[in-house]
């Protein structure tokens, strides 16, 4: 226990002993995590936009004239189980008649002597899946039903939105991985500078019988502190910036930014600790090889 306390306090003291490298490591972690946090907020809000758009996707299925209301309801239930469908709304022939009357102010039975409007079903698409919504297989499946007369959907528009969204998600993921990798390399090289400056300490520790893990531990603990401090600073910057900027953004664009403060801080701290842990472990392990 005393040994653990010693290693922990050595890691903490190293922050002060290696002020310059600690500053560099904290600053690079802070920059990386500020970018990472911005990307997370951008992705989260893009997800809200795509969910909103997907909420508007509608597929209208028109049935043949001779299909009974009971059959229409049964078919709608079947459609509900198709992958990618969130909910269905049945519009029977009599519902269609009422809609016609409410929209045009006239009774269709009086006009043509019978109800020519077909029963139909409106299908809503799932909205909160990370993958692209694939409309084509749904349409193909719906067209296999002999009761279905016609299927209307905004195919080209949906495909275009989904394609852009997927490109955005891939781009963001790539950028995030790139930023994190660069950060690990920067932290690793910064810690290596500390290690070279502390060659004497490492040599002394090895000569007095310190194991590899004992030599490594203070550097890794110091790295974790770099990550944690960098993450907290990035959280303060982002949350402070957002709380100052969101009112202005809302008044100018009408958009309200959505983010979970606790989630953001947890992700930034977790990522900060992880990249610093990987960076410092990599550096000290390379040195001790």
């Amino acid at each position: 226990m005393d040994k653990m306390m010693f290693l922990f306090s050595e890691g903490l003291k190293n922050l002060w002993r290696h002020k310059l490298t600690a500053f560099s490591a904290i600053f690079s972690t802070f920059l990386t995590l500020s970018v990472t946090g911005s990307l997370i907020i951008a992705t989260e809000n893009t997800n809200k936009v795509i969910e909103y758009l997907r909420d508007k996707y509608k597929i209208e299925v028109f049935f043949k004239q001779n299909i009974s209301d009971n059959r229409v309801v049964a078919l709608a239930k079947e459609f509900n189980s198709i992958r990618g469908i969130r909910s269905t709304t049945v519009i029977t022939k009599s519902d269609a008649e009422k809609i016609f009357k409410s929209q045009f102010g006239e009774n269709i039975l009086d006009m043509v002597g019978y109800n020519p409007l077909p029963a139909s079903c409106v299908l809503n698409i799932v909205k909160n899946q990370p993958d692209a919504v694939k409309i084509r297989p749904i349409i193909d499946r719906l067209r296999t039903y002999p009761e279905v007369d016609e299927v209307n959907y905004q195919g080209r528009l949906i495909n275009r939105i989904e394609s852009y969204y997927q490109k955005f998600v891939k781009g963001m993921t790539g950028l995030l991985i790139f930023v994190l990798l660069i950060s690990v390399l920067i932290i690793s090289n910064t810690v290596r500078l500390t290690i070279f400056a502390k060659e004497e300490l490492i040599k002394a520790l090895q000569l007095i019988g310190a194991t590899r893990s004992f030599v490594k531990a203070p550097f890794v603990i110091e790295g974790v502190f770099h990550g944690l401090i960098g993450a907290l600073l990035a959280s303060i910057l982002l949350i402070g910036g957002l709380s100052l900027g969101e009112d202005i953004l809302q008044s100018v664009t009408g958009l309200k930014l959505q983010y979970d403060t606790l989630f953001l801080i947890s992700v930034l701290c977790g990522t900060g600790i992880l990249i610093s842990l990987v960076g410092s472990s990599r550096a000290i392990s390379k040195y001790l090889k």
Partner: protein, 217 residues
Amino acid sequence: MIRLDNVSYTYEKGGGVSNVNLSLGDDEYAFLIGPTGSGKTTLLRLIYLDLFPQVGRVEIDKYKSDKIKRRKIPYLRRKIGMVFQDYHLLDDRNLFDNIALPLHVIGVEKDEIVERVNDSIEEVGLEGKENHFPMELSGGEQQRACVARALVKDPDIILADEPTGNLDPVTSFELIKLLEEVNREGAAILMASHNYNLIKGRGHRIIEIQNGTVRQS
């Protein structure tokens, strides 16, 4: 306790030791004497396994250079106290913390560390200097601090590599006497030096090394 059988080690750019046969008993005090570049430091490095013999074998207690696993080397070094010409004290911590470091490595409890470090400081006559940083100590005091750091873990062997190299004759003489006291308490001592005048007539074994070869033991 220490045994070297036909040990040879040659550096890439030349120098080293060749065909060394040597043994040192449990409570022996021996001087390793030879001119600069004769192989004294190489021989000591081979003993604490900072270097591995290219030929032959080094044996310290149960540890054998040809069989030992790398991860076991720290455990061998915990049995050896080392004293260097240039002290190897850490500038960013005070005397107390420098001496306490080997005990933290071993995992000694805090209260015991305080007790043992204070005993060591007393043994080398540096009481009152606990909070001084190495830069605030004289060369002789730094070397005594180095001895205290070697003693604090109660080692079986002390290897001293030119410990008097940076000291004046009086301080050098005091250091040798200090090591003699340590030897009387039971630790084997092997001290390398190039200064024959300093060690002659003290009644200890003298091992002479020249051009990497042990001439007289």
